[in-house]
């Protein structure tokens, strides 16, 4: 449809207090009626200077900051950071610790995707139902996390060289109860939204991006795989015990909101499958390697990246030999995914804008750091 009537564009400020900007994100939309003409994103409302703070804390203390970067995928963030330090110091992690890490990370991926699901449902306009469905399932995972680390979100559980504690003795029974419940919850959630005609009408063909552009923009994670690029670091650049696990990398076709949604649902199933496998073959043994009391990596630099729920989380760590990192750069997946927003919102309606933002699943803690 071309513009047939001469109209004046309106500037609409969305955020930072708008309910569906997923935190304190702000964008200034230029709209022609309901149609978006231009979008200018503004971030930084949650900037806490994690990178600067990291330079003033010792290597162990930084783990707590990583918890707070992507506050919906705490274990995954901790993992990336401790892996970076371990690589710098050439520390071998005990196998059991690796299993514990992967189990927790994959559970955290499910929890994070459930959060995405709930928020997406609310963005699409379901009056709380999708959100409540997702949160009941997520609550069970968070409770399991609490039994492991003592905290529901800010765990501070992974250590350079392993994990803080072994799994609690009743973790096996907890998981035996939890896994079937989660499997049911995921299917319930998907049945509520995934087959809903209105939801499909709202998300199919909205916010599309092609594989070439996606790579050019530096998209990663589900947002990239939804365009058909089968790029998953757990497979293409494997770390930890992922080579020992059997899983499938789902890919989308059109790179639209619906594909991103479907992909995450499938990822939840795959993660659950991985957790099951890992629980079956987890070996006994120590959970901490021998590490010096004061961590002083040799001078050098590493770049470690892992597959976060939101995509490719990279940490660039520079050491000058002291007990504090010289420079920590966090390459946050949400930060990079958000860059493509302008492209994704081309020719969208205001209502689509909410869906697109929801389907990107950004966490502002990570975008702003």
């Amino acid at each position: 449809m071309q513009r047939q009537l001469d109209t004046v564009d309106m500037t609409l400020n969305m955020g930072p207090q708008h309910p569906s900007t997923h935190g304190v994100f702000r964008m200034v939309l230029t709209v022609d009626g309901e149609r978006i003409v231009a979008v200018e994103p503004y971030i930084g409302y949650l900037h806490r200077g994690i990178e600067k703070l990291s330079e003033t804390l010792n290597y162990r203390q930084v783990i707590t900051l990583m918890d707070r970067a992507d506050y919906l995928a705490n274990f995954n963030n901790e993992l990336t950071y401790v892996m970076a330090v371990e690589k710098l110091m050439r520390i071998e992690v005990p196998e059991r610790a690796e299993y514990i890490r992967v189990i927790l990370c994959e559970l955290n991926r499910i929890a994070s995707h459930l959060m995405f699901y709930g928020a997406m449902g609310s963005d699409a306009g379901v009056f709380g139902t999708a959100f409540m469905y997702a949160f009941q399932a997520r609550e069970k995972i968070v409770a399991a996390f609490e039994s492991v680390s003592g905290a529901r979100m800010m765990h501070n559980f992974f250590r350079v060289g392993g994990v803080r504690d072994d799994l609690p003795r009743d973790f096996g029974p907890i998981m035996a109860r939890l896994i079937p419940q989660l499997r049911q919850s995921i299917e319930d959630c998907h049945n509520l939204l995934g087959h809903n005609e209105v939801f499909i009408a709202r998300s199919k063909g909205i916010g599309t991006i092609g594989p070439q552009e996606a790579i050019d923009y530096g998209l990663s994670g589900p947002a990239l795989r939804a365009c058909g690029v089968a790029e998953d670091l757990r497979r293409s650049d494997p770390y930890s015990i992922y080579p020992k696990l059997d899983f499938r990398i789902p890919v989308g076709k059109d790179g639209d909101c619906y594909d991103r949604y479907l992909l995450r649902v499938e990822e939840m199933r795959q993660s659950l499958y991985m957790v099951e496998q890992a629980l079956e073959i987890i070996p006994p043994g120590p959970v901490m390697a021998q590490v010096p009391k004061v961590l002083k990596p040799p001078p050098g630099e590493v770049y470690v990246r892992t597959e976060n729920p939101r995509g490719d989380l990279g940490i660039y760590l520079v050491s000058q030999g002291g007990d504090k990192p010289y420079r920590v750069k966090v390459r946050a997946p949400s930060f990079c995914n958000l860059m493509a927003l302008e492209h994704l919102l081309r020719d969208c309606y205001i209502a689509d804008c909410v869906m697109v933002l929801g389907s990107l699943d950004i966490v502002l803690g990570e975008v702003d750091r």
């Binding site: 530096g218 650049d237 010289y326």
Partner: protein, 163 residues
Amino acid sequence: MTALGPKEDNSLAVLLGQTLEGVAAVIEQPQGEAVVTVEPEKLVSLCRRLKEDPGLGFDYLRCLSAVDYGDHFQLVYHLYSMAYGHKMVVKVNIPLEDAVAPSVTAVWRGADWHEREAAEMFGITFTGHPHLVPLLLEEGCDEHPLCKSHPMVALRPPRNGDS
């Protein structure tokens, strides 16, 4: 950590050597990853070659970091090729005063916000960047908090009525 076996290493080094002929660059492989250090002037042409060379195809900018080494800034570009799984690092050293580097947004659009962030955090000017305005910091804040010279204190944002 093991994606690049010795064989691929060599082939990547060979490929890089062929591509980088005529570009004044230092190639080293300290930790399995090829690191290329280049002069700022040649950065963009090098990046373009790395991206467009059919044998290399570094089409994905994994990360763009800036580091303040006290006497100079270093810009670090972590590259990745989706097709081959190659990984490499490009480094550029720029002086502290007159910190100017060419922008690679024309090569990878994903460099956009990374460069804006580096610009405000370190005070580096990226020439050729389409929209080099503060990203995370408040408008009008002319401090560069990630510089080593910047003290670890809270930023004082400009308030209305400040003179």
